[in-house]
């Protein structure tokens, strides 16, 4: 087993632990922490796949910005006062859906034809990435940022209405 493989299994184990923790933890804040663990582990996988830019973006956006929103929401709302139910009334439905999805994913993995050895990895320098994003795909990029802006303004308007009441 090479070093890269060792690192991969370590990170993969962390990611799986994180994922299980999100589902199994009783406290919502603990679950959020496991989510962070899972996301940072995915960033580790990106580094292992030689796409460091993606890894850093993952750390910055998912590790930082997204989780802070999540944790703020959990800590400031009454989420912790809710009864800690592990099994809701809709569990048979959830079980069917998740086992179907799980079966589908396992079938996809099992039937795929994996190239055993990819040989040479092509590194995409992030200059190329930026060039594509801001020249070739500038319009979709701007539209995406406009959508986010609208969401932001909407959130502000909604929270102000709350205050006015």
């Amino acid at each position: 087993m090479t070093v890269a493989q060792g690192v991969f299994y370590l990170i993969a184990a962390l990611a799986v632990t994180g994922g299980l923790g999100v589902v199994l933890m009783r406290s919502a804040v603990h679950a959020a922490l496991f989510l962070i663990l899972a996301m940072l582990a995915v960033a580790g996988l990106y580094i292992l796949l030689a796409s460091e830019f993606l890894a850093l973006v993952q750390v910055l956006i998912y590790g930082g910005a997204v989780t802070v929103l999540l944790i703020f929401a959990l800590m400031l709302t009454r989420a912790s006062d809710l009864p800690e139910t592990m099994v809701g009334s809709q569990w048979p439905l959830a079980a069917v859906v998740s086992s179907l999805l799980g079966g589908l994913l396992i079938a996809a993995v099992a039937t795929s034809n994996w190239p055993g050895d990819v040989g040479e990895t092509t590194l995409v320098p992030f200059e190329v990435l930026g060039d594509a994003l801001f020249r070739r795909w500038a319009v979709p990029f701007e539209i995406a940022s406009l959508v986010l802006l609208v969401a932001l303004v909407g959130a502000i308007v909604l929270s102000h209405q709350d205050e006015g009441e």
Partner: protein
């Protein structure tokens, strides 16, 4: 010189990592103890007293004595605290700071790792430290701690934006995100000359990121009695302290490398290893002293002042800086235009701040408790006006 990724070097990768960790932790401990001593001495000098004098000659061993005392203290945990998160929080502050160290080059050849995206890496990793403050505040099960934690998170997240944007402006001029290449760019003129506005924004944002006076609102003694650290004692408390001084060092080092020319200016890259090291640390010390000086010169801001300063002054100015840089660089105007436009921006910033200093302090509007008693509503604007504007 890319990240040590997929292919990875040798069987020694684990050993390399281990040595790196030992070096970082050892260096940081020494640096932090020195910094604490220096800060106390400088503060004493400014306040016309002697500072630590008892332990060792001129009190030089005071930090060591304090460290030993802290290690020996009882590690208390409130009975109602969330056990795991309470014990995890100091690490969540501590680890990102130390991770940032990996990418920072001290001289031309001396760094744990030369990353192509070094600047981006440092920003991304240090951005995680808010989590520790938030968790510490929440897990302590203490109202003041929670308030402090929330303040810390809000402040760190807000000020990360101008910090990142000012660094982005600089990397536009240097044309690279690799820290060693940014330094190489500054062989003849340090970037602070081309980008004075970005430097100003950087200093202000770093002060807020470090939670030092005048931006120490999350840990303000008179308001939240120490904020997130209120319930911590002994070794865990000292970890927060260690992380705070370690990030003071890291950000100063980053400023010295990105804005002041690192090891390259003014002697050039041909200077010997030790000379380069001395230049880097001299510039870092300069910034550290600047931060200490500011700390003991300005009173603390209020939280709403802090937030509006960030969102209404620093962020628009940093966008202005980026826009101006884009203009100059795209049209290929000579670098002197960078200085002129950025200098004009700095003058604008100075004007805004001077004007705020002269105006009457704004009255804080009290927001009534939501869903609470009807009587409080009459404290603010008439109900009709409020409903009309939002409809």
């Amino acid at each position: 010189m890319s990240m040590p990724s997929a292919g990875i070097n040798i069987e020694n990768a684990w050993l390399d990592a281990f040595v790196g960790v030992i070096v970082i932790v050892g260096l940081m401990t020494v640096v932090v103890m020195a910094l604490i001593y220096i800060e106390r001495k400088v503060a004493a000098r400014m306040q016309n007293r002697l500072g630590p004098m008892r332990v060792g000659p001129h009190g030089t061993l005071q930090s060591l004595a304090d460290a030993l005392k802290l290690i020996g203290k009882e590690d208390l945990r409130p009975a109602t605290a969330d056990r795991w998160i309470f014990e995890l929080a100091p690490f969540a502050v501590f680890v990102p700071t130390f991770l940032a160290f990996i990418a920072i080059p001290f001289t031309q050849n001396l760094a744990i790792s030369f990353l192509d995206l070094g600047l981006f890496y440092v920003v991304a990793v240090t951005g995680l430290s808010f989590l520790g403050f938030l968790l510490a505040g929440w897990a302590s099960d203490n109202k003041y701690a929670l308030l402090g934690g929330m303040r810390a998170a809000a402040q760190l997240i807000s000020y990360e934006v101008p910090l990142v944007l000012s660094l982005l402006a600089v990397s536009m001029v240097a044309g690279s995100l690799a820290l060693h290449e940014i330094v190489e760019f500054q062989g003849r003129v340090p970037l602070v000359v081309w980008q004075p506005l970005a430097f100003f924004i950087f200093i202000a944002a770093v002060l807020a990121e470090l939670e030092r006076q005048p931006f120490d609102i999350p840990t303000a003694e008179s308001e939240v009695v120490g904020g997130p650290f209120i319930e911590y004692s002994g070794i865990r408390w000292s970890m927060f302290f260690l992380a705070s001084y370690a990030s003071l060092f890291i950000y100063s080092l980053l400023g010295a490398i990105v804005f002041l020319g690192g090891w390259n200016w003014p002697l050039g890259a041909e200077a010997g290893l030790w000379l380069q090291l001395i230049w880097t640390f001299a510039k870092t010390s300069l910034l550290i002293l600047l931060f200490i000086w500011i700390r003991f010169s300005f009173p603390r801001l209020r939280i709403d002042q802090l937030m509006s300063y960030c969102w209404k002054v620093l962020i628009p100015l940093s966008f202005l800086q980026i826009f101006l840089n884009g203009l100059v660089l795209v049209y290929g105007w000579p670098h002197i235009f960078l200085l002129l436009t950025s200098g004009a921006g700095l003058a604008l910033a100075g004007y805004i701040i001077a004007r705020v200093g002269q105006t009457e302090p704004r009255k804080v509007r009290l927001i009534p408790v939501r869903g609470g008693r009807k009587a409080t509503a009459s404290l603010t604007a008439p109900e009709g006006a409020e409903g009309g504007s939002s409809a």
